[in-house]
Subunit: 682 residues, 2 copies
């Protein structure tokens, strides 16, 4: 690194690069393809470009980030920050100039491109029987003859009308009770958790009530705001797991805990902060958007801009009365501040398997103060509550068919079996399939390339970006505004590069068979790369490419999954799969055909392959809407046999072989017709 440049890394996108010293962080973000809000045009007056500078040595990037590596604090920043924020390292990106290496966290509210997650949560059948139910009662006023207290008065009526007996009340609900009764003229709506505890009282009659199902992944977090009365998914919200800065996979985070005093609490605080942001987003989505206008006096005021014909629920945090959380065992332990150290060491025992009911307030989650969080149970050290979520959503234990369920995440989780027996295992796929560790990888946000097709004849690339319906081939270049590649396109790209003959079965660029100038050596690094989108089609002003290193990352991830599937089939003695289900946060976008071509799983009739979307998230939603499924979750967590694949014979051998893209038609008969014969026969 020259004396005149410094390394700047933006979180949570992970975008990084050397920039000239002396430029401000807004300029640095532009050069690195990160968009930070700056409505005032860097005039230092709007305060929208707040970013946080992380302090410390970050092994993963090999840099020492320090707040002192920026130009000094300026008076203009004073009014936008509290003393606490200043202590935490917040700066205005338009003011702070780069003077050395820095790791910059861009809070969600400062990000110009908001993440897009498919709202179409899958329409799976769920019997409605939520943990939290509401009851409307009218009670008699107290008199001298019957001066019975408020709580007993309400309980008497709840027992008489609904058969609920032996109820207790959370202290916060009890505090609200006397005034709610009198405001409602002795008519109230009571929310009861598990027929045991009153967690909310509201004056008068209220129909709907709400809950949030959250799937906490190692890399991404998704939340489903649900109506507990109608089962409807009102909104889906998501964010990057803010712990990514401590390392991208679970082992890196466990290591961070073991090497950093206070590291566990720090990581837990970060995800809780993230979940609170998620909750705020879910709640904000039920209100009309706001816009700033000038009033008669020329003052700037905020007004609501409701969409025509739409009604808004206008929820508050208090309206979220139940939460379910699913995550892998390491994320589970870190979130709950349970020591994750032993999960990382053989024989990998978790602190707890069983589901937990914890008051949201005890975790620092800001929803209804009396609400519980239901944390799904863990199967084993490396197959966690997220997999249990997949299982209660897909219910392979009720099926005759032999199913293979592949849950793609930073850790891949596999389940194989049917109602007679189920085994599970885990493979370290790393976050490549989710867009991390890929040069132009990014989240599913506007501008992300989400589908890719490569013409075998010309090697021309067609693609689609999030936020624009028309594909590249039907658009003008400047209309595309591509910014990077997200998960679903990363699954596409390996299959397409192979099918078009751009790369060989071993994953190296086929230098003899290049048909366009898209294949080239990088002018700086001299490494081979393939251009997916030209600079003129992007919003970042440079070519979006896939490098040899990127291809290797994807191969490593898919090899881990493939080897895992194969070893599990061998362990179970399964020759033929009746069903293959591909799950993952971007699961519904998966192109089954391309997944088969790249060799994500053993050969199978395409008709038997199904993309089931974020089944872990579905499982959280199922547990939110049906309390019986919580019992089922605990049963299944203790009745799936966990297989530690890395100690199987041949694991290394299988893994190395699986790095190749499948080509032999005898092993993959179903590839016939999907890939040109000349490629298959290479």
């Amino acid at each position: 690194m020259s004396d005149n440049t410094a390394m700047v890394i933006f979180q949570p996108s992970g975008r990084r690069g050397e920039v000239p010293k002396g430029i401000n962080l807004i300029e640095a973000s532009r050069r690195l393809g990160v968009e930070i809000e700056s409505p005032c045009g860097e005039k230092k007056v709007c305060g929208k470009c707040k970013v946080r500078i992380e302090e410390g040595f970050f092994q993963k990037y090999g840099i020492e980030s320090s707040r002192s590596h920026l130009s000094p604090w300026q008076e203009e920043e004073e009014k936008f920050f509290t003393a606490k924020e200043r202590d935490q390292g917040y700066r205005l990106a338009c003011v702070a100039k780069v003077e050395g290496d820095v790791l910059v966290f861009v809070p969600e509210e400062a990000r110009a491109g908001k993440q897009v997650v498919s709202k179409a949560a899958r329409d799976i059948h769920i019997d409605l029987n939520p943990a939290v139910k509401t009851y409307y009662v009218e009670v008699e006023k107290p008199t001298f003859e019957d001066p019975t207290g408020d709580f007993e008065r309400v309980c008497r009526e709840l027992e008489r009308q609904f058969g609920l007996s032996g109820l207790r009340a959370d202290i916060h609900a009890l505090r609200a009770l006397p005034d709610a009764l009198r405001q409602g003229d002795w008519k109230i709506t009571v929310s009861v958790w598990m027929d045991q505890e009153i967690i909310r009282v509201k004056p008068g009659m209220h129909g709907a009530h709400y809950g949030l199902a959250i799937d906490v992944g190692t890399t991404t977090v998704a939340g489903y705001l649900c109506d507990l009365t109608s089962k409807e998914v009102i909104d889906t919200v998501s964010l990057m797991n803010p712990q990514c800065k401590y390392g991208e996979d679970v082992m890196a985070r466990i290591t961070y805990h073991m090497t950093t005093p206070g590291g566990l609490k720090q990581m837990s605080d970060d995800i809780i902060e993230g979940l609170n942001w998620l909750i705020d987003q879910a709640v904000a989505g039920t209100h009309p958007p706001k816009k700033k206008i000038k009033n008669d006096k020329g003052e700037e005021v905020e007004v609501e801009v409701p969409e025509e014909g739409r009604t808004y629920l206008r929820l508050s945090r208090d309206d979220i009365e139940d939460i379910t959380i699913g995550c892998n065992t390491a994320m589970h332990h870190i979130l709950l501040q349970l020591n994750p150290e032993y999960v990382g060491h053989a024989p990998f025992p978790p602190v707890v398997h069983h589901s937990l009911d914890i008051k949201a307030r005890d975790l620092g989650l800001k929803v209804n103060p009396s609400a519980y969080v239901f944390v799904l149970p863990n199967e084993a050290g490396f197959v966690g509550a997220d997999n249990v979520g997949v299982l209660i959503a897909e219910e392979p234990y009720k099926s005759d068919e032999i199913q293979l369920i592949i849950d793609i995440g930073t850790n891949g989780e596999l389940v194989l079996g049917n109602k007679h027996k189920l085994i599970s295992s885990s493979c370290a796929t790393g976050p490549a399939l989710e867009g991390a560790q890929i040069t132009f990888g990014m989240r599913a946000a506007p501008g992300a390339i989400e589908r890719i097709e490569i013409d075998p004849e010309t090697h021309e690339v067609d693609y689609k970006v999030i936020g624009r319906d028309a594909w590249r081939s039907y658009s003008k270049p400047e209309e595309m505004k591509a910014r990077g590649i997200c998960g679903s396109a990363i699954l596409d790209v390996l299959a397409e590069l192979y099918r078009a003959g751009v790369i060989t079965k071993s994953g190296v660029f086929n230098k003899k068979n290049q048909k366009s100038k898209r294949f080239r050596r990088n002018p700086e690094t001299r490494q081979p790369e393939f251009v997916l989108a030209w600079a003129e089609e992007t919003a970042i002003g440079k070519d979006i490419v896939i490098t040899q290193r990127d291809v290797r990352q994807i191969q490593l991830a898919k090899a881990a999954l493939y080897a895992g599937c194969k070893l599990m089939c061998r362990r179970m003695g399964v020759q033929q799969l009746d069903k293959v289900k591909i799950a993952g946060a971007f699961g519904t976008h998966v192109d089954r055909k391309k997944a088969l071509i790249m060799g994500l799983f053993p050969d199978c009739d395409l008709d038997k392959v199904e993309a089931v979307g974020n089944a872990a998230g579905d499982g959280c939603r199922v547990a939110l809407l049906n309390r019986e499924k919580r019992i089922e979750a605990n049963w299944v967590a203790r009745n799936v046999e966990y297989i530690e694949l890395t100690v199987e014979n041949d694991f290394q051998q299988e893994f190395m072989e699986a790095m190749q893209i499948p080509h032999m038609t005898d092993k993959f008969p179903h590839l016939k017709g999907l890939v040109p014969d000349e490629i298959l026969n290479q």
Copy 2:
């Protein structure tokens, strides 16, 4: 008030008076008989004399107290206070000079004379069956064959050995589990609440565990630190209820809530702060005292000074694994931040009758983070959980005898009946019998006069002070160091003044019958008063007197109790009491004979009168040590009939008559022989 003086009021003692402007608060406290720690002799170097200045208008005293009524903050104070303490109005009493009216709160640690409460908690029979029990288990290490998680591993053993099934774990206990198991080499001691929830894990084997029973009175708070294994009371600790500054009786506090935004939270925070101080005291008492010495280098260091032959438990806050709390309904509601407004209005319904199990952390109590607080149930708006405590300690519902139980506190609570029927009621005695609102009233602390006798022949006074075994008649005047009169002496003094003929049956000083210069008119106010201790016998440099107003206050209190007892007997049709039990924080010190003479209750054979001490506190202790009594408490709370006395016919009439000290031998035959005939026949 002259321009040169200002009113200074010290809390919690309530001592008040005008002092010259310009003197510091230490000097003011000396003049008003309050002792503030000042080991450095006002050299501003020890920081022991920290006091807090209350801000606002205090109706009760008719003064506006302000931090600006003191000399400005000095640099010397800086190092003794945090920024937060400074904001809260803390000052050094040796630095801050009086420049206007101030209400000064003297924290316990700055008070030179610590309260003394009889440690001899009554030896009542309690079957040991605490809510929290400990279990020692040894578990197998996890292996590849059995990688079951830590929690399930422990539960398996608890079920196998002790039959405990379906256990859950508090999140804090769960957090401690993995390291406790490994530190203890897979042997641990587990504390389980109500056979349901693991609330603590400790590596290895631990025998004893501890709990705290707390009686929260309107004026005084008493805590009993108990060994949950041996039932032993390890220590008794007490403090003044810090809410006294908002008003002395429950109605004043309810009014404060209704007139002051945020007042409820403020009062709740104050009592919680007080309870945390109480917990600290209980814990500190299990460590050797400390003393400051100079080491070889001449530096001041703190060393432990263990008493010879004594072993110390050396407990920490975490060692308190259970708490029970009893208090009257208003204190109950204020402590829990339940709106107390409706308790103050007919028909006085409480928010809740039933007992509550609340996590100590949810109330801000700093004990074991997973511990529960059991709050005793309320009978009615004016007969609270404290009375339930009295009932489960005394068990009149198991007796054939008709018992009258009088619980003397700021609110007097009465129970009458036997196993067939029990009725209860409440009377507004005010805090006079506890030493408040009496000119020289004070807490039971060293220097407090606790017993009084007056010679009918000479009107000479003999008395005993707390902290000195010898009575006045066996001591030199300067040895007595009296500072005021506490509750038990206040009960004595009315009977003695009457028996000696100093006052008449109507409570006025009998000007015709004065035999000593102790009776006089106050040189300033010209009001009649009687000197109990001469200035030379005191530590406050002035005569300790009882005034006509003091006598009236005591009469009002005793009249409320007497009228209540009489109306209840009439309601039940009871002619003859089989038993009279006098309870109260100072109950064991009550002289039954004098209580009869002053007319605290209807006439009764002295043999049938029993002083049962702090029965409410005993009830809290009973509930701490026996979980079955918690169920009994809920039963009794809903099966005692509450009588609202103030709406009874004749209440005013009975109350007025009861102001008199009993004298007619036909109504009080048992007075015969206790009081000279010439007095009785007046």
